[in-house]
Symmetry: C2
Subunit: 283 residues, 2 copies
DNA sequence: GATGTGTGTATCTCTCAGCGATACATCTAT
DNA sequence: ATAGATGTATCGCTGAGAGATACACACATC
């Protein structure tokens, strides 16, 4: 389907050889290794054997053995019920639940998303900004949803998605350029954005319009619009976006019909700084 | 809303004092501590401060400092954008995605769930068996869904839910008794099952009927039916369940209308042992 | 039946990661 | 001021755990 690529980008870690932490006395090797093992499945297509975990995580077989053994006992990994092989364990879902539950922004977003879905009868998503990529956190599926339902945690590039462009529109130009430069620009469709210039055109349009409008970027018959979610300092931390089919909509029609609603929703979810009492403002 | 309780039950770990692993040379203290910190948010209601993490995880402040610092750099934790405080980080969602993506049973379940939702116009869920509790993994929301959308990872008791009873119906009586004994039996509504005997009545009925039917267990106006998903050895690993409103349905009507569909769906998702070649069968 | 390459599992010794104590610089709140 | 949070930094001693090595058990293939 979508071309496989490592979207973790710069935030990806070379498990331990990262060298970056060599001089950080606070940084614990063992934690990095543990996380490396848990993240080993990122690039997997099937349940992994012990030595596959070892190579994927960049640790030697002995270390993998001990870490996997421990993570198994803690429920962070499981064995595939049928075939042998290791998989992320149920305790991962607990952490997911905690993340969705505790993040104040997502808490606020929930009712807003439900209301938005009620009005817009299309697929509504909320995703979180993570440098070169954007990660789906909430989805309100529409009536006609034919494909996968499991998208929590799905990551797509920032530079060519409605949510991503909406986020970029709040960043200074040089930061946008920086992100695009570090992105994998392999196109998904023949219409996928390929250059920084094209990104900038969309970013500028989004700044004026208030929401982004993108067509045929990840899928050939898809139109999507998005608006950014800000934190209390005004920085973008995510986006709300709506996707529809070009067999039913024109880009303009879609944008005109739902743009204001999406902008309004994103605005509502964004931080409202508690009146006047904020860091340096009271002076 | 739902009474707060620790559903992790027996699988919960006393982070390090567990004593259970004292003699296991393969078990790594550092991994346990790392996981303990990541799981510290389980019992939290808000973003946690460093020392809150420390106490919740059962490690001293120094250890918490180092582990949190490391997990932050790795993206497994984040700081709350507005308020200060720590939260599960975005990388958790990556792991979620991996879990949902890689589990062969969930892969098979996806199209089945979509088809089931198409026929049953009610809320359809798939949850995974985890001892005294059952964890939501997939949800296909229905038209009238008014409450929370973020339920991936939500855990409910095994002994009083449609999915849970369906799972128990495949276990021997003494195992059922064992699970009920270890469960927190605090009722959710005035109709919630309170005794092992009541559980057993439902289990037996489910064994004959092929699916479970439960009313007013977690919510006062809810009816739910469920059917178990088996692994290749026949052991239950999860359940598919459908929930509806008692303002629209009678329990019998609901059961008769959707029971066969749910059973069929669960059957389809269950392991099909590759014809004859299995562990001890070929002899 | 050998042989090879995969799996998971177990044991042992030496050393450096990281434990835990201690100190400090902020804040906010009395 | 005083008191109690918060996050942050330094440091010397020691036992957790690295990493090598070995074994049991699957499957293949010749």
């Amino acid at each position: 389907m979508t071309t496989f690529r490592d979207l973790r980008g710069i935030s990806s870690f070379d498990p331990d050889e990262g060298e970056a932490y060599k001089d950080d006395p606070l940084f614990m090797r063992s934690v990095a290794r543990t996380v490396a093992v848990m993240s080993a499945f990122q690039s997997a297509r099937h349940p992994l054997s012990l030595s596959q975990v070892a190579t994927a995580a960049g640790v030697d077989r002995s270390a993998a053995q001990r870490i996997v053994h421990s993570l198994l006992k803690l429920g962070m990994l499981t064995r595939d019920p049928e075939d042998r092989g290791y998989l992320p364990g149920l305790r991962v879902l607990d952490m997911t639940h905690d993340l969705l539950r505790l993040n104040p922004m997502l808490q606020r977003a929930n009712p807003v998303m439900l209301e938005l879905r009620r009005r817009v009868r299309e697929r509504v998503d909320l995703s979180l900004f993570d440098d070169v990529r954007v990660v789906y956190a909430l989805r309100m599926p529409s009536k006609h949803e034919i494909f996968s339902a499991t998208i929590v945690g799905h990551a797509v590039p920032t530079y060519c998605t409605a949510g991503g462009i909406a986020i970029l529109s709040l960043l200074p130009d040089e930061k946008v350029a920086d992100i695009v430069k570090r992105s994998d620009l392999t196109p998904f469709t023949s219409h996928t954005i390929r250059t920084l210039d094209e990104v900038m055109v969309h970013v500028h349009a989004t700044r004026e319009r208030g929401h982004s409008v993108l067509c045929r970027q990840l899928l050939n018959h898809e139109v999507a619009i998005g608006a950014p979610i800000r934190d209390s300092s005004g920085a973008p931390i995510g986006a709300i976006h709506v996707a529809g089919s070009l067999q039913e909509w024109t880009a303009e029609g879609f944008s005109d019909s739902f743009g204001p609603l999406v902008q309004n929703a994103a605005q509502t979810v964004s931080e409202k700084a508690p009146i006047g009492i904020r860091k340096g403002i009271q002076e």
